[in-house]
Amino acid sequence: MWAFLGSDVLFFGTLIATHLVYRGQSVSGPTENILDIPITSISTFVLLMSSLAMVLALSGLQRGKMGEARFWLAATALLGSVFIGFQMYEFAEFANEGLTPRTNLFGSTFLIMTGFHGTHVAIGILWLWSLFFATFNGKIHQGNSLEVEIAGLYWHFVDIVWIVIFGVVYLVGAYGAEEHVEEAGHAAAAIFGIG
């Protein structure tokens, strides 16, 4: 699973890099100023708590407490769904404010990046529900908690990708969008030692 996560690092890394590279290039249409920080910070908090639930589910299973494990597994899946709900709401909100992948560059890069992340979260939720039902028909028990551990690794990975997206794209992006384009770029150029 770590190999898969290593590869996914490249996957999301490229998505985020493309978004950063294209920052400030959109000519027309809404850009970072459309981002609604309070709601997204709540959804970030929800995703963090789902990571906590995931870990509790895993430790419950390892200690053989099936009831606890099932409860936290369901909790993780539900929190995940709440996060997806926020995303859907945010996309709908953007759509009627005129931001779709078609309108401008920011729309394309931002929505497709968060879209791919949302799809990963959805796959995670599906996986969690399958595990949840598997605990009932005896396929998942204390013995093979490794299955749940792998799902846990995947879920935490999806969470830390969101941490990066939230930090870099939402906060740094939305923080007085215009004048930061040069700074982020210069910072990168300075690091790379290019004049």
Partner: protein, 100 residues
């Protein structure tokens, strides 16, 4: 997969997880607060970046118990991380001189 099994023993108990989660929540709160404070943009940008890095590392090391497993997994995860970050920095630098 033998060595995975015995690393189960030293998994932190639920109490530790909850404290970590609270810390993460607090960090997110600080981030959002910093965002609304009107400090000079340069500091805020660095604060936000550092906070997300801190959260990132905490989750990786504790929730994904990278610290407890043997470091081959760490290599499997951080090697691509280094490659990706250097490529991203190079791309940002290369795209600086877009002459419109």
């Amino acid at each position: 997969m033998a060595h995975i099994a015995e690393s189960h023993a030293n998994h932190p108990g639920p109490r530790l997880y909850i404290t970590i989660a609270l810390i993460l929540g607090a960090l997110t709160g600080i981030e959002v607060a910093a965002f609304f404070l009107e400090m000079s943009s340069w500091i805020v940008v660095w604060i936000l970046l550092l906070l997300s890095l801190a959260k990132f590392l905490m989750v990786v090391f504790f929730f994904m118990h990278l610290r407890m497993d043997d470091n081959r997994f760490a290599l499997l995860f951080f090697a691509p991380m280094i490659v990706m970050v250097s490529i991203a920095v190079a791309l940002l630098a290369l795209f600086q001189n877009i002459t419109r």
